[in-house]
């Protein structure tokens, strides 16, 4: 992978650094073998936990079914009622009031709690059964329908918060309050990286065309919380440098940078000789790795080696930086190169009014690329051990927010049920799991809490969620707090 032939690198300090690192942390006895340096360095947090805590060697706890994960986070909360959870009986209840027996006093956001009525708004979209599994998928998602037999739909997802900020924070970190590590940070912390010159955890963002004035996101959603900061998600950006500060300043040629890195290594080695601080050796290695990233990142984002068929599969927007389709394609390229966890955030699903118009836009953005990603991974033989997840932070209400007309309605936030799909990576294909009531309001069978989902994701990644622990403020923190049950019914 080392793209440099400069003499300075021929006597690379990498192995020396690794030895120093081992001797310092006692990691040499941990049997990590030939794992990449980055991952070793990423393990500092784990190695630093107290002697009573888990040992670095304990991850993975068992052979992972999902060696790579791509999480397609649909920010703003897509409507399960219009996409995956058909309720044909609702057609006859158009504009009837939501019965109290269904609502059961559930708290509402202050956007609708003052509404005089809660009129039932059936979806205006047609559902059909697709694939041999007969999955129910709305007409809004024709491409997704073509991969129905590869997907596992979880209709019984539920969560706790009713507003976006706490809910998406909860989905990402297992807590509604800010400050905990994100799922990706936990994975990076537990498993390190599987490659030499790309980050372990990559994040990409896109704005929806369905509702451009959408809900915002925040860097802490992929942050490392109290874990060492190197575990935070590295944003691949939609404009400017593909990774922050990746490009040399203007007027600094690549060869000049290569020479500068060699000079720095030489000077820092002198410093090491004098001071014997192993951190100095780590720094030398990090500068070399930064230099390699300056080559490897442009290479991964350069799509010129993709055949025309790729763009037919993902759609024309796959050529445009910052678009969801581009991000899906890039996600595939990243996991191919050993990035363990890629998370996309697509904004614009928060459809309080004009839902029919807005959801069409969102589905036009996401349907083809999401399906293409699954198909593409499959044709490359990667789906087997790559987990793909598609879903948002909560669901939406059957009742209309604002005026209900024959062809228009809006839906408020709904934490009590929503649908999410998974594919590949040890999950049963062609399964629809869980049931909601006639109003898609309450779960009547096989509920899956966000903690259960996260426990299951970690399980598929080879991690016992009860053992992935970090002590902070005297407490042993987990992604799943003190909760979480692995959803074994959906595992292959």
């Amino acid at each position: 992978m080392n793209s440099s032939s400069h003499p300075a690198f021929q006597e690379s300090v990498l192995h020396q650094t690794r030895r120093e690192f081992f001797s310092r942390t006692g990691a040499a006895s941990l049997g990590l073998g030939t794992a990449a340096l980055w991952s070793l360095l990423s393990r500092e947090g784990l190695a630093a936990t107290t002697s009573s805590g888990p040992q670095p060697a304990s991850f993975p706890n068992f052979a992972p079914r999902a060696k790579r994960i791509i999480y397609l986070c649909q920010s703003g909360a897509p409507s399960q009622i219009d996409l995956f959870d058909p309720k044909p009986a609702m057609r006859d209840r158009f504009n009837e009031d939501l019965p109290d027996s269904i609502r059961q006093g559930q708290r509402l956001t202050t956007m609708t709690s003052g509404q005089a009525r809660f009129p039932v708004a059936p979806t205006i979209f047609q559902f059909k059964k697709h694939g041999q599994s007969g999955a129910d998928i709305s007409e809004l998602l024709p491409h997704t329908a073509t991969v129905a037999d590869d997907l596992c739909f979880i209709r019984g997802m539920h969560t706790e918060a009713i507003n976006h900020d706490p809910a998406i924070t909860f989905l990402q970190t297992g807590a509604q309050q800010a400050g905990r590590p994100s799922l990706g940070a936990w994975l990076s912390y537990g498993l390190g990286s599987a490659n030499d010159d790309l980050p372990a955890f990559v994040v990409m963002l896109s704005r929806g065309s369905g509702r451009p004035n959408c809900q915002p996101l925040y860097d802490r959603l992929w942050g490392s919380g109290f874990l060492p900061s190197r575990h935070q998600g590295v944003k691949f950006l939609g404009s400017g440098d593909p990774v922050l500060y990746l490009n040399n300043p203007p007027g600094v040629a690549p060869e000049a940078r290569r020479d500068a890195i060699a000079d720095l290594s030489a000077l820092n080695r002198l410093e090491y000789k004098r001071q014997q601080d192993p951190e100095t050796l780590t720094r030398i290695a990090q500068y070399e790795m930064a230099f390699r990233m300056q080559t490897s990142v442009p290479e991964v984002v350069d799509l010129s080696d993709e055949p025309e068929s790729t763009f037919r599969l993902y759609g024309p927007n796959a050529r445009k930086r910052g678009h969801y389709a581009y991000n899906c394609l890039l996600a595939r390229r990243l996991v191919e190169r050993g990035v363990r966890f890629v998370q996309l955030f697509h904004m614009g699903w928060d459809q309080h009014n004009a839902l029919p118009k807005q959801i069409r836009g969102q589905c036009a953005d996401t349907d083809q690329p999401s399906a293409a990603l699954v198909a593409d991974l499959k044709q490359r033989g990667l789906l087997e051990d790559t987990l793909v997840i598609w879903g948002g932070e909560f669901g939406r209400t059957i009742y209309s927010q604002g005026d209900l007309t024959a062809d228009n309605y809006g839906r408020d936030h709904h934490p009590k049920c929503f649908t999410l799909w998974m594919a590949g990576g040890g999950v049963k294909a062609g399964l629809t799991y869980g049931q909601t009531d006639d109003y898609s309001y309450n779960i009547v069978e096989n509920p899956v809490h966000v903690h259960d989902l996260n426990a299951t994701i970690l399980h598929l990644a080879g991690i016992d969620h009860k053992r992935l622990i970090y002590r902070y403020q005297g407490r042993d923190f987990r992604l799943t707090d003190v909760h979480g049950n692995i959803v074994r019914d959906i595992l292959r």
Binding site: R24, G26, S51, S52, T109, T110, M111, N163, D165, Q177, A178, G179, P199, L205, P212, N213, C214, Q215, P216, Y218, D219, R220, G223, S229, R230, V234, L237, G238, S239, L244, N248, P249, P250, G251, V252, A253, E255, A256, D259, A260, D263, L270, E271, Y272, Q276, D277, T280, T282, R283, Q286, M289, M293, Q294, K357, H413, I469, R471, Q473, G474, R475
Partner: protein
């Protein structure tokens, strides 16, 4: 005893002999047993608690859990050794199992009589004896006596003193956050009495205003300070007056007890000063939500929780937050006690959803020091400009008479527009603002709802006739991309336009616009359908004003005192498609609507009061009317444009200064009337109140609220700084030690509870705590005490054998060595380059940041969507002043482990990653600093004879500005070679050289050769990236 550890244990040496409860036993019980047999009654199993002596040793039916001195009769010993799965403790399915060594310790402890102790941190602070200095005698610094006693026990020796230049750099960075200048280093090295010179240097550093800035960074991270509210909207807030209070408090060495009292309860002091009120902003630094649909009480509760957790972490080193939902699992803090602390902070008149404006109530306005002189000057300038305008106007009397005659004719015709200046506007959504602008238009700001109806009330001072109404939508910089609305693309959709008098709705016969977007004709505003309306396709015509005219079916005859209400409806499916700045006018005349468009825009617009003034018949008031007309003429006559512009500029300058001279800050203040009741919240949920609790302090600390203390925040603050409080002083000195050594005497500064680390040097910790309190909580004195110890002044070079034994340097057998904290890295680079602008306090600044970061995540209705970097000196202020947006913190600081400011953070972490290398190599901040460093050195260095000699001097000069010590020949050689190599490269590619030196705003030294400057810049960049530059050592 089987306590063989590969590396040194943080706690004092575990010599063979008696097992000590606090040191050896309690940590095991807490970590492995308390989960089910600890303070939390809800999760307690088998009715057994092991956190209290009496209950653990209570005889049970025929057996004992712990039988002192009799391990064989102790059920505990049996349970931890048995192989029977049903009996085994901890149960086999538990993740946390006892190691054999731990089981052995518990057994030995019981055999030794199971002596119990109060948790070390909850015992009162007693000043310990300073250990016998041995041969060093009375000369030994007390800190060194404690440190060396432990080293001797370990068979270790302290390191040699650091070389003087390195030491000066270390102490300068620690106390001011900035390195010493080459001149300061030279003077220090030349001083005859090194010890006296060092003491003098320490005094100078502590007296520097930079000291307060350096200390404040750490306090801001603890106090979760930021310049935005956080949560979803993340709008701007103004808390920097509080930040400046902190800087000032450190600089004037406000004793820590007073520092505590003023921040927690300054408002409750008798006759509090403004500064003491500002200090209470500490507990308003938490995030504040403004998400649409959020429930007020849910978030108000979060803020109170945040205050409890922050206060407990900073002053008590307790993880109180664990007791929010249930009794603490490890520490003796019940859920009820948690809510007793909560009660202290629960009586503020505040709202949960209030994070839209720069401050949420309660807040105060304070004046910003330093504006007195410029305000005086600006007022004088305005006065002069006013005088000049009057003088110029007086010379225009005939022009005025002509105008008056012309306008009288116009008014008589009725065919003129009367602008409705400053009408009263209300929206249906709360939180929106309507600001009148000088041209009579109204700017819509604040909350940006999805839909709205704007009602405009027009009061008629005199009778008037209305036959048509004109609506203008005007561009404004505050709207999306300077467009006409705050919608995502700047377009609007006016779904309805209505007029109403007390007689009822007014009908329109006709509507026309200068432009309508296809499909969104202006006539759709009067068609009664809320889903259709007028839109103007802003994207096709950016920056243009749009005008519409509505003619009435029948002219209205308004009597004096009557009100006309106009309504602008925005009820379509488009969200936030609301005109952002509009102006309304009326016409009395009845010409065809289309002809209105032809009207000139200036003097043929006649305000209501002018029309009124012209028609006044009464002689007595005619005088006043004449004044009104004259005034109007002065403000509009083209001949006076220049004088008016000068006057306007002076007025703008004054109002800018007046605005800058005051700032708002959120503060604490108690609600008047009956205090809000506090309940235990079941599972910590805002909507599940349980029993009522009164303000109170945790029992386990052994200090109750003294008699006579008020049961409010002031009483709490006094209790915290009471010398008998076992935690406050220990926790505070531990943080100062961490600040200097990178690791605290207690490695977990955030947790002094059962699960926290035990102190490496308990006696030293207590000695420091006692010294701190006895000195009157004198922070500067304590810092001086520590940095003048030999322990602090040791060399930080690492002995590999010692490293293996003590990787975290918890024995302090060497000096501190770790990567600089985020702000120091940037400040050091700016300082070395000579760029740093040393200026205390003021509003936050926006230095370079890669474009698009805010834009990529922000919601459209936030007011922190676009990051506009500042210019000039504001690019080079200390990092302390960098604008902190919570949802997108500055990336070049976050990558270096700065805290996110979402919640209190007191623990330092230091990582080492390739992304950090990319920052110091490529961030324009550093790329520019390297260039300016190079040009500073080049400008200063006079070329001497002989190329080699001059290059050595050049390299040495660059070196000296970034490193304290002198370069070795080998180092000089590498840098010289680099310089020559880059010279050749840039000489061959002069275009590259020109690019390299153009980075950043700071002007390029004109007389410098671009190739030489570029080459030198590359060498400077190397120096800014050296491990020894990035590291404190």
């Amino acid at each position: 005893m089987a306590l063989v550890l590969a590396t040194v244990d943080a706690s004092p040496a575990a010599e063979p002999g008696p097992v000590r409860f606090n040191r050896d036993v309690l940590p095991i019980l807490s970590d492995k047993c308390f989960q089910c047999h600890g303070p939390d009654s809800a999760s307690r199993k088998g009715d057994l608690r092991l956190d209290r002596e009496a209950e653990a040793k209570l005889p049970r039916d025929g057996y004992a859990i712990i039988a002192p001195g009799k391990p064989d009769e102790s059920e505990l010993v049996h349970r931890i050794h048995t192989t029977e799965a049903d009996d085994r403790m901890p149960p086999p399915e538990e993740v946390k199992q006892l190691t054999p060594a731990e089981a052995e310790i518990l057994t030995t402890w019981i055999a030794q009589g199971a002596p119990w102790e109060v948790h070390w941190a909850f015992q009162p602070v007693h000043r310990p004896e300073i250990p016998d200095a041995g041969a060093a005698g009375g000369d030994l610094h007390p800190i060194d006596a404690f440190i060396r006693q432990r080293l001797a026990e370990e068979g270790l020796h302290p390191a040699a003193p650091a070389d003087p230049a390195t030491l000066l750099r270390r102490v300068a960075l620690d106390l001011t956050g900035l390195p010493p200048t080459p001149a300061e280093v030279a003077a220090f090295l030349a001083a005859p009495d090194r010890k006296a010179a060092y003491a003098a240097a320490v005094d100078r550093l502590l007296d520097s205003p930079r000291f307060g800035e350096r200390m404040t960074w750490d306090w801001l991270e603890a106090a979760r300070y930021a310049d935005t509210h956080g949560y979803q909207k993340d709008n701007v807030r103004t808390m920097w007056a509080w930040r400046d209070w902190v800087i000032d408090a450190y600089n004037r060495n406000l004793p820590f007890d007073q520092f505590t009292i003023e921040q927690l309860a300054g408002d409750l002091l008798p006759n509090p000063s403004t500064a003491q009120l500002v200090a209470t902003g500490f507990n308003r630094n938490h995030r504040i939500n403004a998400e649409a649909g959020s429930i007020d009480e849910e978030f108000r509760v979060e803020y109170v929780i945040d205050r409890v957790d922050t206060t407990a972490t900073i002053w008590l080193g307790l993880t109180a937050g664990c007791a929010r939902c249930h009794d603490h699992k490890f520490d003796p803090l019940s859920q009820k006690e948690y809510y007793a602390l909560y009660a202290f902070f629960n009586n503020i008149q505040e709202k949960g959803s209030d994070g839209v404006q720069p401050v949420a109530a309660p807040s105060i306005e304070v004046s910003v020091p330093g504006y007195e002189k410029s305000l005086r000057q600006a007022r004088a300038a305005l006065q002069n400009a006013d005088k000049q305008l009057s003088k110029d106007a007086a010379a225009l009397d005939s022009a005025f008479q002509d105008w008056k005659a012309k306008i009288a004719t116009l008014v008589a015709s009725g065919n003129f527009w009367t602008v409705l200046s400053s009408p009263k506007v209300t929206g249906t959504s709360s939180g929106s603002t309507f600001t009148p602008l000088p041209d009579g238009s109204v700017l819509f700001g604040g909350a940006n709802p999805l839909n709205d109806v704007h009602a405009v009330e027009v009061n008629f001072p005199a009778s008037a006739r209305v036959s048509a109404i004109r609506l203008e939508a005007l561009p404004d910089a505050s709207l999306t991309d300077g467009s006409l609305a705050r919608s995502f693309d700047g377009n609007f959709l006016l779904s309805g336009f209505e007029a109403e008098t007390k007689a009822g709705p007014v009908s329109f016969s006709h509507a026309e616009a200068d432009f309508s977007q296809p499909g969104h004709d202006i006539r759709q505003t009067i068609d009664g359908n809320p889903l259709t309306g007028w839109a103007v396709d802003v994207a096709q015509h950016p920056g243009e004003t749009r005008t519409a005219w509505f003619s009435l079916k029948e002219p209205l005859e308004m009597a004096a005192g009557e009100t006309l209400t106009l309504r602008l409806r925005y009820e379509s499916r488009e969200e936030q498609f609301i005109i952002g700045r509009f102006r309304l006018s009326m016409m009395a005349g009845s010409g065809p609507v289309a002809s209105f468009a032809a009207g000139s825009r200036d003097l043929s617009e006649v305000p209501l009061e002018i029309a009124g003034a012209l028609s006044i018949p009464d002689k007595a008031t005619k005088q006043d009317a004449e004044l009104v007309l004259r005034d109007y003429f002065h403000e509009h006559a083209p001949e006076l444009t220049a004088a008016r512009q000068r006057r306007d500029a002076a007025r703008d300058r004054l109002s800018q200064l007046e605005e800058a001279a005051t700032t708002q800050v959120m503060v604490m203040s108690e609600m008047s009337g009956k205090p809000r009741e506090t309940h235990v919240l079941n599972r910590g949920q805002y909507d599940q109140p349980g029993e009522t609790v009164a303000p109170g302090v945790p029992e386990a600390l052994g200090l109750s609220l003294p008699e006579g203390e008020p049961h409010n925040r002031l009483g709490l603050a006094h209790w915290l700084v009471n010398p008998e409080n076992p935690l406050t002083a220990r926790v505070a000195v531990n943080r100062l030690w961490q600040m200097l050594f990178g690791v605290g005497l207690v490695k977990t500064p955030e947790d002094f509870g059962f699960q926290g680390a035990r102190p490496s040097h308990p006696e030293l910790l207590d000695w420091l705590a006692a010294t701190y309190m006895d000195s009157g909580w004198d922070t500067k004195a304590l810092l001086k005490q520590i940095v003048t110890s030999q322990t602090y002044q040791q060399s930080s070079a690492i002995d590999p054998a010692l490293l293996a034994r003590d990787p975290d340097n918890q024995l302090f057998a060497r000096g501190p060595r770790y990567r600089l904290p985020a702000p120091m890295l940037r400040d050091q680079a700016l300082f070395a380059a000579g760029l740093l602008k040393e200026e205390l306090g003021g509003p936050p600044v926006k230095p370079y940041q890669p474009p698009g970061l805010w834009e990529s995540v922000a919601g459209v209705n936030s007011n922190t969507i676009h990051y506009e970097p500042d210019h000039g000196g504001r690019l080079y202020r200390r990092t302390l002043y960098t604008f902190w947006k919570r949802s997108v913190p500055p990336p070049n600081l976050i990558l270096f482990d700065a805290a996110s400011r979402d919640a209190c953070a007191v623990k330092r972490t230091t990582t080492n990653s390739p992304l950090q290398a990319l920052v110091t190599l490529n961030d324009p901040t550093y790329a520019e600093a390297a260039r300016v460093l190079a040009q500073t050195v080049l400008s200063a260095s006079a070329k001497k004879a002989g190329p080699n000699e001059s290059d050595d001097a050049l390299v040495a000069a660059l070196w000296q500005r970034t490193q304290a010590r002198a370069p070795s020949p080998k180092e000089t050689q590498i840098l010289r070679n680099a310089l020559n190599r880059e010279r050749k490269r840039y000489a061959a590619h002069p275009a590259l050289a020109a690019e390299r030196i153009r980075i950043g705003e700071f002007p390029i030294g004109e007389d410098l050769d671009p190739v030489e400057l570029a080459a030198c810049t590359e060498v400077a960049a190397l120096l800014l990236n050296l491990d020894s530059t990035l590291t404190k050592h």
